[in-house]
């Protein structure tokens, strides 16, 4: 107990001081390697956007054990070809534009590039949501990414404006944006990303995997091996299953199915309703017998 009290005191603001979710890049519900579509979500909560004439890039999970202290994974952002790039950025949107407003905030992270030194930019954007005030951008700061196999920890501190007097609409957020180099190729590795209140970078807050997964599931949930099933006496019978979601999502989610396997189904799986707490999936039978659909479903309530 004494240790816990001391740790909280040292941090100044107690636990969950890291406003980023999945800053340790531990949760990868969508997969572990992604090509350069735009936008593309990579590790949970993190997405890449780009604009330019052409781009060949891969964003992937890498094994960090023995390389990056206590980290299990890190993310590699690798560009192997590109021309006319005007945007190439790596972003996380933090729910609630009030986050860290009217004060100092510090972003810290470990980084390296095995192929050569790079310079990246880090900026914050206050977005007031649909129907809200115009975006406020907090000026970008340059960060040197070291060359070689030894990662180094970097930090930048921002003065975040007050949101007093602003109109807050729907789905507002604070965005942390890492602007990748626009010229040349790179292989930037990032780990242990943390955004916290104040002007001092404290040690990376490593949360339990279950905690981090639950935080991610508010925005994206992948449910594998789902089944909607019934015995019917003919065609055109509708079977509906109700699924309670593991975490209340930020909004009613967008739903997409994959890996579908069916028997005696003429339509579906289809979404009957989707709310922040539950999903109803339906199928329509094509004849008498066991009518079912086996599927994986992805639910997205990202910002």
């Amino acid at each position: 107990m004494t240790n816990a009290v001391n740790l909280a005191s040292a941090a100044g603001t107690g636990f969950f001081r890291n406003k980023l979710i999945n800053g340790g890049f531990d949760v990868w519900q969508r997969g572990t390697s992604f090509s350069a579509t735009t936008p593309v979500f990579t590790a949970d909560r993190w997405f890449v956007t780009h604009a330019g004439s052409s781009l060949s890039a891969t964003y992937s999970r890498q094994d960090a054990v023995g390389v990056w202290g206590q980290a299990k994974y890190y993310i590699r952002l690798a560009r192997t070809a590109g021309s006319g790039m005007t945007v190439h950025s790596f972003t996380q949107r933090i729910e609630g534009v009030e986050t860290l407003q009217d004060g100092k905030a510090t972003f810290s992270f470990d980084c390296r590039d095995l192929t050569g030194a790079q310079t990246i930019g880090v900026r914050l954007v206050q977005n007031f949501g649909s129907g809200g005030s115009a975006d406020v951008t907090i000026a970008s700061q340059s960060v040197a990414v070291p060359s070689g196999s030894s990662p180094q920890r970097r930090s930048v501190t921002f003065d975040i404006p007050s949101i007093a007097g602003k109109t807050i609409g729907t789905s507002d957020y604070l965005a942390l944006i890492i602007d990748l180099p626009l010229g040349g190729n790179f292989q930037i590795d990032l780990a242990n990303a943390q955004l916290e209140v104040g002007s001092v970078a404290t040690p990376f807050e490593r949360r339990l995997y279950g905690q981090e997964l639950a935080l991610c599931q508010r925005y994206y949930t992948l449910l594998a091996s789902q089944l909607v099933y019934s015995y019917v006496t003919g065609s055109s019978y509708i079977t509906i299953n109700n699924i309670a979601l593991p975490v209340t999502m930020r909004a009613s989610p967008t739903v997409a199915y994959s890996g579908v396997s069916t028997n005696l189904v003429s339509a579906g799986p289809s979404t009957n309703t989707a709310t922040a707490t539950s999903l109803r999936v339906s199928i329509t039978s094509s004849g008498a017998g066991y009518s079912y659909a086996d599927y994986t479903v992805a639910l997205s309530a990202e910002l």
Partner: protein
């Protein structure tokens, strides 16, 4: 990014509560929730005349 959109009815109560469409070629279902960012983008495209949403089929019973 968004194409082939149509409103869908809740099969239990007949209310229109969903849009079925392709998002990057993947069949998806978007609830009519103003906080859903896909719904926000879809409505912006509709407002700009860049996307049309077909009406829901009439209930069968």
């Amino acid at each position: 990014m968004y194409s082939n959109a149509q409103y869908l009815r809740d099969e239990l109560n007949g209310q229109v509560d969903m849009i079925r469409l392709d998002i990057n070629g993947i069949t998806s279902f978007v609830p009519l929730d103003p906080a859903n960012t896909d719904y926000q983008r879809i409505m912006a495209l509709v407002e700009d005349g860049k996307l049309t949403i077909a009406p829901a089929e009439e209930p069968t019973e």
